[in-house]
Structure formats: structure tokens, C-alpha cells
Symmetry: C2
Subunit: 308 residues, 2 copies
């Protein structure tokens, strides 16, 4: 099944203990689409300015991502600048220049309307809902959000969540959204807000999938945990979460049916894609990645937790 | 193989969001021994005061723990009082009354000297080393420590680590000991300090075992991760780490040989015992636990991460 991804396309200026890079290609839709492109056809919708060149677009088209949905606007592309300290778990933002992204109104090209899977990357929940409503026949909707929207547009986000099947968020966002300091309780509260499943990402500790009894026709409501790879040298964590989402949704979209086993494997592929994303700056690592490397690392992930 | 456990025996006054309990039986040696007792013979060495009654001792002897090594001293038993807030990950200490524990000099009873496995629970590293030297023929030594000793007795701890085969510590302790904010790097640094293997406990996220290439005759040096159970109601986290260590060391001691598979299963049994420990206050849950319940939960842990 083809995935339609809607989100931000950006330039990131990133400083980490391993160096600094100016204006590398980034954004939630970019990282998601590149990661998902290893598993299925991906179509992207976003907005860029006149500084977005053919070379930037080629990063996506080289991976087979369909870019007809990238809207061109007068002005500059969204630019984020930030820095990661020694622990690499949280970025300190230096600068957020929304530029053309401030007026982003996602328009779905006609030829993308038959996409069977939709991923609403982290943008204003009102825009997410607008996209969802343009895609009434979609079979599966994944979504992301962040503290900024949970705090600032809680009510609108609540409406949007009713149209999302699988929500992917991190620990802090999950606790904030559910107003509960216990992750398992928070996850179960979120499952009453609309999503049938929620993936809580724990950064270097992996991720947990919680799902409703009966969701996707599955009997057992037990959660499922996937590990993360212990990585000594995390060069740049930017985009790790979006790459996880890309691997997760991409693998699901590549399968004929959602089963418990498919969801489990999707969690592992999510972890695998996140682990590659952090090995170099921006999209550098994913651009040169091969499917063989993905399968090899999938085996390493399995070996990390498998009992004979 | 029989395990000799040396550590603290205490009374804990614990407040959590679920209630408050006064002077319940606790201490690192107590929690460790009870958890390990489901897997192998356990012998305990510690010190208590006159307030430690036959009833308290029966908690251990009922589980088959051999208590001849419990030293009786004039005065009161070590008493700790603390409180856990909503997140339950860190205790706020209200009171630490060392009492008879302040002058604790571990003496190993003659009949315990043939113990093949030794566990040095969290006490002064100088005392740990003294015990280690009394047991020259021991086949496997596990150990624990805490920030207090890492900060205050780093040099002495360094000497003690040379006699420990497997160190079990949590994230914060590992980073502090290695002076490195990256957990995988910290673990690998610790493996240059003496231990052949280090188990880093991540609380609600599980634990990771790192080991030296060639340790225990194992070829592969890849780490191994075990999940923790997502638990909605953590009644009391006190003793969870010691119970993890008890399950981990107890399972290893029950096996004829250390293999990669034994270490992996030990990690799961550690997680299982930790997950039971937090279900009620103090030792309450472990006291009524059955081996069948342990095996059932082991299956749940496997199901959490297993791919078909």
C-alpha cells in the first residue's frame, strides 16, 4: 500500500558533540518519507521556499519518494537551528524560522488521493485534521504530535486524535497528553481518545506498543516492546523519531494485513531505521543506506532480546 | 550452586502514592536473598539489632534462606525512611539511622565458606573487598554499589571491582562510575575496571547486559537487552533492584554452566523478580510468590519482545 506523508520540510542547523552542520535537509515529512521509502511507495506533501533546490528534491526522488505534493511558496524554507548537549536526549533550540511553513495549507494532489495509508507528521493538529478529512477512504492513519500542540491546542488535538489509528509519541509527550506520570496508565488513557494503538518511544531504551483489545481484529491486548540498539556514538539524534515512524508505518504498509506479528516486526523496523538515522548528520546515513543493511541490523535487533 | 549474599538487613518506613508502611523488613541482602531463594540455596550474612524478631527471621527461613550468618549486635537494626513521588523512580530520604549497621564487620560462618557464588550487595566497598578475600575459591562474584560509594570511596571501589565478575548497577550509577554520559560507552569503560560483565538497570525500561569479548568463554561480545513489564500500579519500588539481582544471580547459580543463553534467561528472571517486588510493600509480594507465578510471568516477558 502507498503511504501519503504530510508534514514539515526544513533546513536544520545542528550542533552536537560531534560537530556542526549548516542547513542540512530535514523536517518531519522528509525523515519519515526517506525511512518509509525502503518498504513501500511514499508520497509526500509539504511546503518549501525558493532556497529548496533540485538537489534537495533529488534526495527524495532518488529514494523513489513522489514529490508532486511539495508546494512551492514565495520566501524561504522552514529553518530550525539547535544544539544537543552531552546526553543527546534533548535539543536546545537556538532559532525557529517558520518562513513559508507559517502559511502552510496542505493540498493533496488528485493522484495521491488513492493512498491507502496516511501519516500525519508533527504539524498543527488543525492542519492534520484537514488532511484527514480530504482522505475519507484511507485504510490506516498514523500520526505524531509534540508538547507544543498538546499544551497549546489540546482541544483541537483531541478532535484530530479521533481520526488517527496509531499515534506515535515519546515518553514526555505521552505523559503530558494523558496528564499521568505513569507511562502504562498514560498509554491506556490515550487509547480512550481515539487511537486504536499508541507507540510510546523511549529514546535509547526502545519503544512500547500498546493497543486496544480487539484493535485490528487482534485478540490479545498485551503490549509489545522493541529494544533500541546501544549506540556509543550518536552523531545527531535529529529525525530519529520520524525515521522510527517511517520504518514502522512503512513496514506495516508493505504487508497484506495487520497482524500481531506484523505490528511487532514493524516496531523492530522502526528501531532499526532510528538507529541508522543517528549515525550521521541529517539524512546523510539514510541516503546511502541499503535494504541489506536494514535486514542485517534487524537480525542484530532480534539477537539483542531473543531467547532460544 | 549455593549463593552467599552479604549486605544490609533493614527496616524501611516507606511512603508511596499508594500508602505508607512503618518498619517493614527490607535491606539489600534481604530483598536479594528472598528473590534468589526461588532458584538455588541462599546463605545470608548481615547484622541486626535486638528489634529483629524471630518473626522477621522466619520470613527468610520460610523461603529456605540460611540465616546462621546473621550477626546480632547490641542496639537497633538499620532503619531507613523515605518517600516516593508520583514518578516512583527516585526516593526522597527522610531518615537514615545506621544503628548497628554502622559497625558491621561481615564474618562468614565456616559452613558458608564452600559457597560457589558470592553476591556483594550494596555496602561499603572496603567491606565488600574484605568478604571477597575471605572467599578465595568462589567461582562467580556478583556485586552492586551506589552513588554514595562511587562519589565518596572511588579508589576503594576501584580495588573492589577487580574482584567482581558481574556488576549490577543502574543508569545513573553507571554513568557516574565511568564519568561518561553515554551508557554504552560507560558500560564498556566499566568492563576495563575488572568486571567481565556489567548489567545496567534502566528501571521501567528494562536492563542491558554488556560483556567482554571472551568473558565466560563466550565468543560474541554483543550486548543483550531484557524488557521490563509495563506496570500501571507500582506500589513500592523499594528493593526492585535487589530483587532483579536475586533473580539474575539465582538463575545463573542454578545452571551447570554460564552460556550466552543462561545470561539472557537470567536477565529475564531478574526482570520478572523485580516486577513482582514492586507489586506490594517491602517483601510482601515475594513472601507469597510461587515458582509457577514466576514461570508464567517469564512467558509474559518473552511474549513482550519475541518475534515468531
Amino acid at each position: 500500500m502507498a503511504i501519503l506523508a504530510v508534514g514539515s520540510i526544513a533546513f536544520d542547523t545542528i550542533k552536537t558533540p560531534y560537530g556542526k552542520k549548516e542547513r542540512v535537509l530535514g523536517g518531519s515529512a522528509t525523515h519519515f518519507s526517506l525511512a518509509a521509502s525502503f518498504f513501500t511507495e511514499v508520497r509526500v506533501v509539504g511546503v518549501v521556499g525558493s532556497d529548496f533546490t533540485a538537489e534537495h528534491e533529488a534526495v527524495m526522488t532518488t529514494r523513489g519518494v513522489r514529490t508532486e505534493g511539495i508546494q512551492r511558496a514565495n520566501g524561504k524554507t522552514f529553518h530550525w537551528s539547535g544544539e544537543y548537549g552531552e546526553n543527546l536526549s534533548e535539543a536546545k533550540t537556538h532559532l525557529t524560522e517558520l518562513n513559508v511553513f507559517e502559511e502552510f495549507k496542505p493540498r493533496i494532489p488528485k493522484e495521491f488521493l488513492d493512498s491507502e495509508v496516511l501519516f500525519l507528521a508533527n504539524i498543527d493538529p488543525v492542519l492534520q485534521r484537514g488532511v484527514r478529512e480530504q482522505m475519507p477512504k484511507v485504510k490506516l492513519v498514523g500520526g505524531d504530535t509534540m508538547n507544543f500542540w498538546i499544551g497549546g491546542k489540546r482541544k483541537e488535538l483531541g478532535e484530530t486524535l479521533k481520526g488517527i489509528d496509531i499515534l506515535l509519541i515519546n515518553d514526555g509527550e505521552g505523559k503530558l497528553l494523558a496528564s499521568d506520570p505513569s507511562l502504562p496508565r498514560a498509554a491506556n488513557k490515550i487509547l480512550t481518545m481515539g487511537p486504536k494503538a499508541v507507540v510510546i518511544k523511549h529514546g535509547e531504551y526502545g519503544a512500547t506498543l500498546f493497543f486496544k483489545e480487539g484493535a485490528f481484529g487482534l485478540e490479545s491486548g498485551h503490549p509489545f516492546r522493541a529494544p533500541a540498539l546501544p549506540i556509543e556514538e550518536v552523531f545527531d539524534p535529529t529525525g530519529a523519531g520520524d525515521s522510527f515512524a517511517g520504518g514502522f508505518m512503512g513496514y506495516i504498509a508493505s504487508q497484506p494485513k495487520i497482524t500481531r506479528e506484523v505490528l511487532k516486526r514493524a516496531m523492530f523496523y522502526g528501531g532499526v531505521m532510528g538507529s541508522f538515522a543517528v549515525e550521521r548528520f541529517g539524512t546523510e546515513r539514510i541516503q546511502v543506506l541499503t535494504r541489506d543493511e536494514i535486514e542485517n541490523r534487524f537480525q542484530v535487533f532480534q539477537e539483542l532480546t531473543r531467547l532460544e
